[in-house]
């Protein structure tokens, strides 16, 4: 199997698996666990960018993902503090 084909298949597999896991995964009433399941399809999107040679998009997506992690973890903790 070619390298590009391998990266593309692994990327699509992670995208589908992560989406199904985030929607009907185990114990997703907890918002933190649902957010950790959301991180799996983002890695799948990174692998698809890699397979189609979109280097600039891959770099930007990795940078934005780290900032998004910071913001969403802060928001989940603040939500848990504020509701009764």
């Amino acid at each position: 199997m070619d390298l590009v084909t391998l990266a593309m298949y692994v990327g699509y597999f992670l995208l589908i698996l992560g989406t199904v896991g985030a929607v009907i995964g185990p114990l997703t009433k907890d918002p933190f666990k649902r957010f950790l399941n959301i991180e799996v399809p983002s890695v799948g999107v990174c692998l698809i960018f890699l397979a189609y040679n979109q280097t600039l998009a891959l770099m930007t997506f990795l940078g934005v993902n780290a900032i998004l992690t910071l913001v969403l973890v802060r928001a989940i903790i603040k939500n848990e503090e504020l509701e009764e």
Partner: protein, 92 residues
């Protein structure tokens, strides 16, 4: 075909399945670190070394944020269970 992309793809698949099916938060974060290390190996096997530098700087930052966040989250959950709103708390 070389051995690095095969090992990295195996890391990615095992990390993805493990992140979905584990139920404890710390175990999910550990499997997520395995998934992202597979991503770095697959980027390096494409010879995109500048992207690999950025990825390997940003991935521990995200793991650190997640670990500090999960510690605070579990602390809040435990405190809310201990002092719930059905008990009259006077210092509110």
């Amino acid at each position: 075909m070389e051995i690095l992309p095969i090992v990295a793809a195996g890391c990615c698949i095992l990390g993805g399945i493990g992140t979905i099916i584990h139920t404890h938060n710390i175990n999910k974060i550990i499997m997520f670190a395995l998934l992202e290390s597979g991503l770095i190996g697959l980027i390096a096997s494409f010879y995109y070394l500048d992207v690999a530098i950025i990825s390997s700087v940003l991935e521990p930052v995200a793991t650190l944020i997640l670990l500090l966040g999960v510690l605070k989250y579990e602390f809040i959950i435990k405190n809310k269970k201990k002092y719930s709103t059905e008990v009259p708390v006077l210092t509110k």
